[in-house]
Symmetry: C2
Subunit: 378 residues, 2 copies
């Protein structure tokens, strides 16, 4: 029998698990939120991942449950585990990707380098943090943020009042996470995979370029990262994967500070935008590795196919027509670039695809990727 993996959520991450599943002869079953989603090809079920009966019925058709996103409620995950259904990453680990306050507390406990932070329940507490951190800080909602949402730079305590009010109205109490505004020279991301029996694999650390809080571009490996930076990043990701008991692929977003430290910014406990380059640039893609990891199969090699890979997101996409309408011009101009389209309608700011170029001359590779992506705009 073919192994059967169930994915909760039908977005592009689930979609990009389809090719390696086809290659390896793994049956991928997606529980999509709605018809017509990115992973529709593998979505024989549509249903609400907040509904226990729906998720249970789905889970009973597969060997292991994994995720397109981190939003499945803990109660549902714990019920699956209680019934003996393998879930990777498991609820104990996933908790730290779902709740940034718990994540910060746990990473501090593990002695990992993080920005100065505090849990604040009132405007006064936020004010105190601001006063002790130069009058500027980053405030984050503990839950529900992504792609820059739920993150705000503040210079006065009242600027988070709406979030405090929302938390109070929520009835569960709760707090906001406040962090020092880190002076960083650049942002990095370290991808790691860990299987239940403990084997770990790390890819080279990469450099991520954000625009408006959204990942725009990834250079792999990060420039000038050989040696110390690469080792520090891999050590941090390894310590987190082991410390939190992560199974599957995890991305650790890092700040490289102006004084050459690495600080953990965010965790994503699933394949991640910073790892899309691996599809075309590494011996084992993050999506193949995730499938192997959640099935507790041996992990694949994580070396690079060429010296450099540059991945550029297609954000928004064409203002008229579809991505495919641009193929005649784009593919003719860039025959070595690999284009990935997510089957989503273009919409401002939406991640609708990405392009990856690889090669041994970074300037040329970056040019190829950026110039190819430009065909899908305007």
């Amino acid at each position: 029998m073919q192994p059967r993996i169930g994915v909760l959520g039908g977005g592009q991450l689930a979609r990009m698990m389809i090719p390696p599943a086809v290659n390896l002869g793994i049956t991928l079953e997606v529980l999509a939120e709605a018809p017509g989603m990115s992973a529709e090809l593998a979505a024989h079920d549509v249903g609400d991942y907040h509904d226990l009966d729906t998720v249970l019925a789905f889970a009973q058709t597969v060997d292991v449950v994994t995720f397109d996103h981190e939003h499945v409620p803990q109660a549902i995950l714990r019920e699956l585990v209680a019934r003996g259904i393998p879930v990777h990453p498991g609820p104990d680990a996933l908790l730290y990707a779902q709740d940034k306050l718990l994540m910060r507390a746990r990473l501090s406990e593990l002695g990992l380098p993080v920005p100065d932070w505090a849990s604040v329940e009132t405007s006064e507490e936020l004010g105190a943090f601001l006063a002790s951190h130069g009058g500027r800080a980053v405030v984050k909602t503990a839950r529900g943020g992504y792609d820059g949402k739920g993150v705000r730079v503040v210079t006065a305590a009242h600027e988070a009042d709406d979030w405090f009010i929302a938390l109070a109205e929520d009835g569960n109490g709760g707090a906001l996470l406040v962090e020092e505004l880190v002076e960083f020279q650049r942002e990095l991301a370290q991808l790691v995979a860990r299987r239940p029996s403990g084997e770990l694999a790390v890819w080279p650390v990469v450099e991520t370029v954000q625009r408006g809080g959204v990942c725009a571009e990834v250079l792999a490996p990060a420039r000038d990262s050989a040696g110390n930076v690469a080792t520090m990043a891999a050590d941090i990701a390894t310590a987190i994967a082991e410390g939190l008991g992560v199974t599957g692929v995890m991305a650790v977003e890092l700040f490289q500070t102006t004084d050459e430290r690495l600080l953990v910014n965010e965790l994503a406990m699933r394949p991640h935008n910073s790892g899309h380059w691996t599809i075309d640039g590494s011996t084992t893609s993050q999506f193949e590795q995730h499938l192997r990891a959640v099935l507790d199969l041996p992990l694949g090699a994580t070396g690079t196919r060429d010296d450099w890979s540059v991945m550029v997101n297609i954000l928004g996409g064409p203002q008229t027509g579809s991505i495919a309408d641009r193929y005649p011009a784009a593919l003719a101009a860039h025959p070595t670039v690999k284009v990935h389209a997510y089957g989503k309608e273009p919409r401002p700011g939406r991640k609708v695809g990405h392009v990856t170029a690889t090669g041994n001359d970074l300037d040329e590779v970056a040019y190829q990727a950026r110039a190819a992506e430009a065909f899908f705009q305007g």
Copy 2:
């Protein structure tokens, strides 16, 4: 709208079109012969490709029709074309992959190098050919052969009597193809893609190793092929693709004779076993290229990712259990090798998957591929 490609036939070639279709945001619809076939994931229809109404209904849901195999009857293909449905490769080209006598005649007409051959309708004619060719020859049925079926080495005219009788009973008359037994040092294959508007792309010529008439292994590029051999092979494939008006991917199987000539053996007018290495070894896989070609999109670059790729077929597969049962041992021992499983039950002689290794040391690459494949036997 996403482009829609319809594939007649649900075997592993259709299956291997799924990953690039997902990547490029192309909708692939497969008309499979039966449920549970290799390309089932994309097979929303099951039906008989010999039935005009079935094929017409299917074809009307897609932008272009292409193939997993060459067995769709000409009458059906011509009816699709008559109704304005794009078919690639078209019936005029496909004819030469369906009928080896027509192929030999046409290649001879184009002045391309082929073995000495004749069309023989009787045992006496076969005897005359044998007498003028050292008493040995290869007899082939004009239609329906593959993987060594419909091919027979004979040393006496009566050894093809059963085929002559079958042809006579068939009622359409017809003849057998007889060819000289070529003294070759090795077999090569040249893969080419051509789009309707004329653009052509060739991959490096490869060396194929056959066992029992079935492809066992492919070395890419062919050893010692730089220069003359590569140029001759590419020129022959280009001349055939243009001369026959081929659209999509075509493989030309070649003999390299002991006196250093290249002779055309067979044509396959679709992605081909000799091109599976391109999935992991070339910038553009034959399956992605086929999708691009049949949509008349610009073709992708056909260079190699590493100096060498070695593809080994998984023939038959495990005698007990499934391919996936062998993953724990196989993937642990060969973390750089890419394994492809076709979702077919193991059965003696059946092509149930393949493995590809790539790298810059041929001995090491060949060892990796062969040793990894061995885990899926016995």
